[in-house]
Structures are given as structure tokens and as C-alpha cells.
């Protein structure tokens, strides 16, 4: 599945990455799988990095499937 990055995660990891759906098919499971696959993705374990599933902000317990659009991002900064 494809995972998107914005803000600081994008600075470090690029805009997106392909990963197999982890056995723990949750947002938290994805964080851990990405961090385990690449030390640079360790920043995803920082609790300030939030996530969305299908463009809705969620917590780490949210379930994901191969068809989910998951994104990880740092704090918003508009205006």
C-alpha cells in the first residue's frame, strides 16, 4: 500500500512510500512497520507526528486496509 508524508516526514522520507500492509493493520502498526524498515522513518514514532486515514485525522488505533489512503504529517502551519 502507499503511504503519504507531509511536512517534516516528507523532508526526511520523500512524499510517499510503498509498504506491505502490516499484520497489525492499524495506523500504529504502520508507524512501527515503517520505522522498523528504515531508521530514517524513526521520526514517525514521535507522538507529534499525526496521521489521517482517507483524509480524516485519526489516532493510532484506526484500522487500515490496502485500499486506505494513509498520511503521516507534522504540525499544520497555515496563514
Amino acid at each position: 500500500m502507499k503511504v503519504l508524508f507531509f511536512g517534516r516526514p516528507a523532508d526526511v522520507l520523500g512524499r510517499s512510500r510503498e509498504i506491505d500492509l502490516p499484520a497489525d493493520a492499524t495506523v500504529g502498526g504502520l508507524r512501527r512497520a515503517l520505522a522498523a524498515a528504515d531508521p530514517a522513518a524513526g521520526l514517525l514514532m514521535d507522538p507529534s507526528i499525526r496521521a489521517s486515514v482517507d483524509r480524516q485525522i485519526t489516532d493510532d488505533r484506526a484500522g487500515v486496509t490496502d485500499a486506505s489512503e494513509v498520511a503521516f504529517f507534522s504540525a499544520f502551519s497555515g496563514g
Binding site: 516528507a10 523532508d11 483524509r55
Partner: protein, 156 residues
């Protein structure tokens, strides 16, 4: 209540937006607008605002709706630019129309504070040497945003 929000990668003409907005709010006694401009200086030549298509538009729309309802606004406009924005150009424009001035001032102020921390954008400062520095909300921005979480916005 009329809410209009727009995300654009083109130049925002704040004067034209205000003119159009004001002409479309007959009956309102007050119009307050705010124009946010990319600050130059310290070698900053531009801002780069990244956005998440779909989610960013929805965030602006929902912040505008919440703000409009809260202050009893008759009409509210928010235009936000994304992409590469040179210093001196407009990054955001908001306008609020209401029967009386207080609500219009408060709505524009509140919407700006909330856009700073809750609109789905990620910002970098581009400097003359070609460098880029990631900008995240400061403590002050969070304080500004929290003012509106109290019952009266701390203003009445």
C-alpha cells in the same frame, strides 16, 4: 449565512476580493478584512506552502463554517494560496460581514488564529541562498488559537 472558501496557487488580489465581497453583502453594517502577506527580510525570498488536496480545502471550509456560526456572521470569505509565494505577495485573505462591527472583527481575528494552527498546510521559508527552513506554529500561535476555546473568546 454565506460561506465561501477557496484554495489557489495563483496570485490573490486582496483589493478585488474585498470589493467583490463588499458588493455582495447588502444589509450588512460592517465588513472586516485581513490580508496576510509573505514577510521578506532576513534573507527570506518566499514561502512554500504544501497542501494535501481534498483535506486542505475541507479544513478551511470547516474552520470558516465554525467561525461564521459562532459569531453570527452573515457572510464570510477565506481565500488561501498554496505553492511558491514570493515575499510581498498575499498568502491569505479573509473577510467577514455582519450586522455590527464587533462580530465582524472577532470572526476575522478568530478565523486567522485558527487557520494558522488548524488549516492543513505545511510551510517552508525559502532564503536567497536557496536554503529552506521548515516553519511550524510557535507557542504564540497556539496561545492565539486557544483564546478562542474559552467561552467568550476572551474578548467580550
Amino acid at each position: 449565512m454565506k460561506i465561501e472558501t477557496r484554495l489557489t496557487t495563483e496570485t490573490i488580489d486582496a483589493a478585488a476580493e474585498l470589493d467583490r465581497f463588499t458588493k455582495a453583502v447588502p444589509g450588512a453594517g460592517a465588513v472586516v478584512s485581513f490580508t496576510g502577506i509573505v514577510r521578506g527580510g532576513n534573507g527570506v525570498t518566499a514561502l512554500e506552502l504544501d497542501h494535501y488536496p481534498g483535506m486542505t480545502e475541507a479544513s478551511i471550509e470547516s474552520l470558516a463554517r465554525e467561525t461564521g456560526s459562532r459569531f453570527g456572521i452573515s457572510s464570510l470569505l477565506a481565500v488561501h494560496r498554496a505553492g511558491h509565494i514570493p515575499a510581498g505577495e498575499t498568502v491569505v485573505f479573509v473577510a467577514a460581514a455582519a450586522e455590527h462591527r464587533r462580530a465582524a472583527f472577532q470572526a476575522a481575528d478568530c478565523l486567522m488564529d485558527r487557520l494558522k494552527t488548524d488549516a492543513v498546510f505545511w510551510k517552508r521559508e525559502i532564503t536567497a541562498g536557496g536554503g529552506a527552513r521548515r516553519i511550524e506554529p510557535h507557542d504564540k500561535d497556539h496561545e492565539d488559537q486557544r483564546r478562542w476555546m474559552e467561552d467568550d473568546g476572551g474578548h467580550r
